[in-house]
Structures are given as structure tokens and as C-alpha cells.
Amino acid sequence: MILAVLPQISLLILAGVVLVVDLIVGKERKGVLAWLTIYGSAVVFILTLIFAKPDSAPVEVWGGMLRFDWLAYIFNLVFIAGAAITALFSIGWEQIGRRGEFYILLLTSTLGMTLMAASADIIMLFLSIETASIPLYVMAGFITSDDKSAEAGFKYLLFGAMTTALMLYGLTLLYGFTGMTNIADLAAAFASAELPLASSLGAIVLILVGFGFKISMAPVHFWAPDVYEGAPTPVAGFLSTASKAAGFAVIIRLLLVAFPTDVLPGWVLIVALASTLTMTIGNTLALAQENIKRMLAYSSIAHAGYILMGVAAASALGVTSITYYVIVYLVTNLAAFGIVVIFWRAVGSDQISAYDGLSRRSPFLALAMLVAFLSLAGVPPLGGFIAKILVFAAAVEADLIWLAVIGVLNAIIGLYYYLIVLKHVYLFRSDDEDKKIAIARPHAVALGICIVGIIVLGVVLTPWFEWSQAAAAAIF
């Protein structure tokens, strides 16, 4: 029982320690907070990895509030790793790197995410979503002296509040229809009760609005570009990876479990259409971006669309592909945002045109960018290729061949704008070519971990695939 909440407990303790240390240490030694968070998260990661490993059969613990299974286990590892890498990239970032609050918020949000991935009850689900979201609103607007950051935080809050309200309404409908809050009970109730299709689908749509907000699914994706652009870059990276992964965890938990497709087939079509819309909007709008953070925001919307294909497949392979994708996307997108962090610190610009001549200024940063962006584009031997193949395979297996075709066509648009960025990096010349770009050591370490991760996930497939399969087995 305790082992099931080991990650949550240790994250809470860590946040408490950071809080206390923040009060004790002097102003000039605040740098220690970042390292405390990083090493602490690493310890939590290892503890979780070793001790919180569930048995193959899922169990409900804590009065049916949480499920202790492989899905939660793997997603928890993803969140914790995401938090650690984000903390590494935050070092040296003005106004956040030396602030204890920032790290506490980061850890609290991670705590919320770990609960999201484990929820077995819609009340727990809602509470954990709020626990994860509220710190993120603050983190997005953390740099109060910067209007863009403040705007990002406020926009994120308003959008989040509205969609959460709609989602809460949907959840109350579920309770109203069935009188239950446990997700497994809901599934049984939906399977036996003769509910009018329209109202069940209505509830699902409302819930999807809330979940869709977390994963930046169209048509509730509008916040993403503004927030990513305005928020401190490490936060944007965290939002696009860990927070998105948490959104997918709850989608798997609720949609795939509570609404079996044989009873309620309609929602698959809704998700498939949302997936089409999301990836198409994300990719086409990314084409026009001149700011790299906005471009990555739209690309991140597009990737949500690809992952939704796995949801629409509503199968074991679908969940496997989502899990694999989320793991790959974590390292890939953190690497991409990490490069933006490093570049911004050296050059002070997020414009894509500022990246001209990067390969002459720093061949290694350019190479890292090549790897990260090609992985986003889905090119082997990188993780992104395998992840894409798996979601396409899930769609084809589920007889959603049209969706797979739309997906591959979108992948081509994606390749186009990723290549445009690489063209700036490798082809164009600039006047600043002899100015080398310095990479701070913690950033180099974080980037190195991500790049190695991208390649390992693309070449050595079996262990991660079996993990993902184990996560899927917890649901199906």
C-alpha cells in the first residue's frame, strides 16, 4: 500500500526539504536549491524504479482511490525524469534558477501528475488534475517583470479554469447517470445500464474538453502558442512533455476504461476527428512561425494529434503506442526546448532566423538540434520514428486506415518545417559566425541525457516496448 504511493510521498518530502532549505540558506547560496531538486528527483526516480514496481496484476489501493499498476508506474517515471531535466535546464535562468518557490511548484505539479496517472476514481482524478495544474499556472507567469510571461500565466489560468469547469460538469453528469465515482464501477454501469447515447456522448465531449486542454487538442489548443512563447523556456518544455503526458494518462484511465467501445462506439469517431483536426492545425500553423518557441508549440499540438491516433485505436496496441510515444516525446521535446534555452542564454533571441550559421558556431549544438528535430519529424534511427510507426500501426490495426493516411501526410508537413529550421542551422550564414556558443555544464549534461535517450529509444526497442505493453496490459 505504501509502496503504491512511494513516488508521491517522496516527492512531497523533497518539496518540503526544498522549502525548508530555501528558508535557511543565504541569498548568495540559493543555487544549491536547484541541485537539491535535481539530485532529489534523481533519488525519487531510482526509488520509484526499484521499489514501486507493481505486480503484473493491477490492484486498487487507498479505498479505491488509486490504482497501483504498470501504467501509473511508467508515467510516474516519465514525470519525475521530466521534472529533473527541467530543473537542470532552469539552472542559470534569470529570475527562476535561484528561487526556491519555483522548484517547490515544479515538484508539487509533478506530485499532482503522479496522482493523475494513478487515479481510479473521478474525484481523485479531478483533484489531482488541479494539483498538477495550479502550480503550472504560476510557473508560466513566474517572471512577473516580464509582460509576456505574466500574460502567459494569466491566459493559461483563464483558459484552464474555463475548461476545467466544463470537465467538472461532465464528471458530475457521469455521477448523475450512474451514482458511482469509481472508474471501474462506471464501466460496469455503462455496460449494463441503457443510457441515452446523446447524453453519454455529451458527457464524454465535456470531459474531453478538459483533458484536451491539458494535451493541447484542437479546438482547445489556442493557449499553447502564447503560453509557450511567454513562459520561461524550461517551463514551456515541462508543459509540453510531462504535463501533456499526464493528460494522456488520464485519457487512457477514463475514456478507455469507463467507456468500452463495444457499448459506446461513438466516442472513437469523435477522438479520431479531434486527432485529425489537431495534427492538421498544429502542422499547418507551425509552417508560418518565425519564433522557435511558437513553432515548437504548434509542433507540440501536432504531436498531440498523432498520439490521439493511439487513443482512437482504443486497443492494447493503441495504449502501447501512446506510452512509447510519450516516453520518446519526453526526451525529444525536452532536448528541443533545452537547445532553445542554451541558445537564448548565449544569443538572447528566439527567432528562427537567429539560428543562422549555428553549425559553424557550435557544431555539437547543431548536431544535437539535428537529432532532436529529426526525431520530432520521425526519422530513423531515432525514437520518433518508432513512436510514429507504432501509432500508425495502432490506427491501421483498428481499421482506421483513413486516419493513418492523414497522419502520414501530416508527418510530411512536419518534416518540412523541421527541415526549414535545420536549413537555418546548417545552410545559412550569419555575421556572428566566429562567436562561439558557450554551453553551461548542467545544460550539456541534460542535453546529453536527452540525445542519448532519443537514440537508444530508436535503436534498442525491446525493453521500452515491453514496458509500454505492460502499461497497456494494465488497462486491457
Partner: protein, 491 residues
């Protein structure tokens, strides 16, 4: 089988060497070139070893290696060569080696250039030897993306960005469409494996095959330059730096044709029989129209670019006949054209390096200054006209025989292309190499270096060798074709 995993070494050595290159100091050009040369030589020698020790009487697939990769989905790293792919491995080895030699003069970031070129080589070798469909797609995509950077960074300034992007998008569209088809086969077969030998016996229903064949075939054939999806190819060839044009026209286009055969025709034979009668008409357009467009170009490199479209059309046409002669001819043509076009592009690059123009009317009299290059080009030209005694004849003659058996009038129309080819080859020879040297080039033309002569000589040797001794290649291809025909029901 206890043996050295020679195919794996051939596939992975360029990649490993390319990655190591990225960590060498960028300003040590000498070291970088020597490293690249050594890798090229080693891979070349190993590809020769594979070719020479391939046993024609032996089993269908040789040098087999199989390791689990993702057993849960039935993915394995499964490589081997048959009579069709062994010559292609040799071709890739030759082109890679000569390409490295020709690239000696690359002065902008040579480290990155050779690094990407070697990653590309890994992709190409991987596709030729893959027996697992997943591995095939894996390597195929690896082969596509470095092209973008190679062309965009080191290409011809005027068109490189446009051409590189066009090429990459075309090829990517083709490959992902084929990928969907491949996944459909995987699930439809119900075998839970990507092993292509197992999928061959999956007995897909005729409806399934007829529906999916065009997706898979055209998806790959885009890279083979099939009309009307050919138009990335001349632009790409022209914009690319010399070694990349050689690689691209010489090897990469074969990748498309080979994968269309391996995944399209061999796994969906009924679909092939249904669709080929109209596809052959497209290839006819390729052959004749490509040659015609080549004839009217004034840019030396565009002539060669369109001639590739024409010659690759012959390969597809050979496949489309679905009979023994057509397949054998197409198999030999892949190698013959690969070597020939690599030679052509090498010559174009050498002429351009000296004259700084590729406009045919502005050139002339080169033979006096670079006689060796002129002779090499003439040999290539004779091959491309299908002259007996050269490999082009060994390849094209059976193709036309095959087409004749299929439909005589198509053969009659297709043969016109040979006449057109002769006309543009002769025009280049007379205008570029003979005639008067224009005044402004006076004193600027020097002969090429010995190592470049060596590269040209090696390419010529293959063309003439196969031409005079067809038995060095034809029986091997025949052995490979036999199993294709078995899949087609002995048709």
C-alpha cells in the same frame, strides 16, 4: 552458420565511421579525408568479397544473419543477399568508394559532408540486404534524410534549397504511403511478423492485393523516378554536389526500384499482375519522354539527370513485363545504369570544376586537356546507347526482349529512346569534348588528378567487364529472378 557477419559490417561500418568522423577535429582536413578514404576502401573490398563469394548454385539467400529486434511485434534484424541484391551491394560499394575519391576537393565542412554521406550509405546498404520489412523501412528512411542536408549545404547555389526540399518531400511522401501499405500487410497476414519470407506465403486475398499494390509500388517507385512522379529527380541531381549526384542517381534510385520489387511485386504478386499492364505504359513515357527531354537540355548536368529518368524507366519497364527476360534485364540494368550514371556525374563534376560552366554551347575541346575524362565519358555514352560489348547491351537487350513478349508495339516505341539517347550522347561528345575550346577557357583547363583517374577507371572497368563477360553477372541475377518468378506463379 558460423561466419563473419560480413553484411552487418558492410551496413554498420559506414554509420560507425560517420559518427566517429563527427568527433574528429574539423580543421584536420587531411585526417578526415584519409579516414573517409579508408572507410570507403574497406567497404568496397567487402562488397567485392560478398559478390565474389556469392554461390550461384547455392541457396536463394546467402550470408544470412538474424537477430531479434522487437520480438513482441515480430521485428527482427534479418539480413541476407540474393542474386538480385548482391550486385546492388557491389554497386553501392563501388559508388561509395569512387564518390569519396571524387569528393577530395570538398572544402566547406568536409567532416560533416563525409559524415552524412556515410549515414546515407548505411541506409542504402541496409535496404538492399534487409529481409525484414520493418528493417527495410528503417533503413529506407535513413537513406532519405541525409540527402536533404547533402544537397542543401553542398549543392549548387542556384537551386539547392528548392531542389533539396522537393526531393526530400517527394521521397518522404512515397515512403510513408508505402509504409501504410506495409502495415496493412502486416496486420492482414495475421502472422505477426515483418519477416518478408514469411509474408511471401501469406496468401493475401486478390482484393487486398489489388487495392494495396499501387500504394506500395508507387510509394517506392517515386524514388525509382517513375513518371509522373519523376520530376524531383533531375532537379535533385543537378543541384547535388558531384559525389551526391553519383550516389543519388547511381544508387538511391535503385533503392526505390528494388524496394518496389521486394515489397510490392514479391509480396503482392496478384496485385502486380492486375496493375502492371497499365503501369508499363507509364514506364514507356519515362523511357521515351525522359530521353527526349534530355536531348533538348543545354545544361550538361540536366542532360544526364533526364537520361537517368529514361534509363530508370527501363528498369521499371523490365519489372512491369513480369517475365524472366524483363526481370533479368532490369536487374542488370540497375547495376549498369548505376555505374554508368555515377561515371557521367563524375565527369560532369570534373568538367564543371575546371570550366565553371555547364552550358553545352559554352564548352568545347576538352579532349586536349583531359583526354582520360573524355574517354571515360565516351565509354559511358556507349553503355547508355546499349552498344554491344558494354554492360548497357547486356541489360537493355533482355528488357526489350521481355517487353516484346509482353506487347510488341511497346517494345517498338521504347526502342526509339535508344536513338534519342545516341543523339544526345553524340552531341555532348562533339560539343564538349571535341570542337574548339572557347577563348575564355583558354589556359584554365587542367587535367584531373591521378586519384580521380583511378576512380573513373574503376567505373569504366565494371562497365566494360560486364559487357564483355556477361557471365560475371547475368547468371547471378537469373538465380535471383527465379524465385521472383516462382512467387508470380511461374508466369
Amino acid at each position: 552458420m558460423e561466419q563473419i557477419p560480413i553484411l552487418s559490417i558492410i551496413v554498420l561500418l559506414p554509420l560507425v565511421s560517420g559518427v566517429i568522423l563527427f568527433f574528429l577535429p574539423g580543421e584536420r582536413r587531411d585526417l578526415i579525408y584519409r579516414w573517409a578514404f579508408g572507410t570507403g576502401l574497406l567497404v568496397f573490398l567487402m562488397s567485392v568479397a560478398v559478390y565474389v563469394s556469392f554461390d550461384i548454385q547455392g541457396s536463394r539467400y546467402q550470408f544470412v544473419e538474424q537477430y531479434d529486434w522487437l520480438p513482441d511485434l515480430g521485428v527482427s534484424y534479418y539480413v541476407a543477399v540474393d542474386g538480385i541484391s548482391a550486385p546492388l551491394v557491389l554497386l553501392t560499394g563501388i559508388v561509395m568508394f569512387t564518390g569519396v575519391i571524387i569528393s577530395q576537393r570538398i572544402d566547406d565542412r568536409p567532416r560533416e559532408f563525409f559524415g552524412f554521406l556515410f549515414i546515407l550509405a548505411t541506409g542504402v546498404f541496409g535496404v538492399f540486404v534487409a529481409l525484414d520489412m520493418f528493417a527495410l523501412f528503417f533503413f529506407y528512411e535513413i537513406a532519405v534524410f541525409p540527402m536533404y542536408l547533402l544537397i542543401a549545404i553542398w549543392g549548387w547555389k542556384e537551386t539547392r534549397e528548392y531542389a533539396a526540399m522537393k526531393l526530400t518531400l517527394y521521397l518522404f511522401i512515397g515512403s510513408v504511403i508505402a509504409l501504410v501499405g506495409g502495415l496493412a500487410m502486416y496486420f492482414q497476414s495475421g502472422l505477426g511478423t515483418f519477416d518478408m519470407l514469411a509474408l511471401e506465403s501469406a496468401n493475401f486475398s486478390p482484393e487486398f492485393q489489388n487495392f494495396w499494390f499501387p500504394f506500395v509500388f508507387f510509394g517506392f517507385a517515386v524514388l525509382g523516378g517513375i513518371w509522373p512522379f519523376h520530376n524531383w529527380s533531375p532537379d535533385g541531381h543537378v543541384a547535388a554536389p558531384t559525389a551526391v549526384s553519383m550516389f543519388h542517381a547511381g544508387v538511391l534510385m535503385k533503392l526505390g526500384a528494388f524496394a518496389a520489387l521486394r515489397v510490392g511485386i514479391m509480396l503482392l504478386p496478384i496485385g502486380a499482375q492486375t496493375h502492371m499492364p497499365w503501369i508499363i505504359l507509364l514506364t514507356l513515357v519515362n523511357v521515351v519522354y525522359g530521353a527526349y527531354i534530355a536531348m533538348v537540355q543545354t545544361d550538361f548536368k540536366y542532360v544526364i539527370g533526364f537520361s537517368s529518368v529514361s534509363h530508370m524507366g527501363l528498369v521499371a519497364m523490365g519489372f512491369a513485363t513480369l517475365n524472366q527476360d524483363g526481370f533479368v534485364g532490369a536487374g542488370v540494368q540497375m547495376v549498369s545504369h548505376g555505374v554508368m550514371t555515377a561515371l557521367f556525374f563524375a565527369v560532369v563534376g570534373m568538367v564543371y570544376d575546371q570550366a565553371h560552366t555547364r552550358e553545352i554551347p559554352k564548352l568545347g575541346g576538352m579532349v586536349k586537356y583531359m583526354p582520360f575524362v573524355a574517354v571515360a565519358f565516351i565509354i559511358g555514352g556507349l553503355v547508355s546507347m546499349g552498344m554491344p560489348g558494354f554492360s548497357g547491351f547486356v541489360a537493355e537487350f533482355p528488357i526489350f526482349m521481355g517487353v516484346w513478349q509482353f506487347q510488341p508495339w511497346i517494345a517498338l516505341v521504347a526502342v526509339i529512346s535508344i536513338v534519342i539517347t545516341a543523339s544526345y550522347v553524340i552531341r555532348i561528345v562533339s560539343n564538349v569534348f571535341f570542337g574548339e575550346l572557347p577563348e575564355e577557357l583558354e589556359g584554365h583547363i587542367k587535367d584531373v588528378s591521378p586519384s580521380e583517374k583511378f576512380a573513373l577507371g574503376l567505373l569504366c572497368l565494371v562497365l566494360v567487364g560486364v559487357g564483355i563477360f556477361p557471365s560475371t553477372m547475368v547468371p547471378m541475377v537469373e538465380a535471383g529472378v527465379k524465385s521472383v518468378l516462382t512467387l508470380l506463379g511461374g508466369a
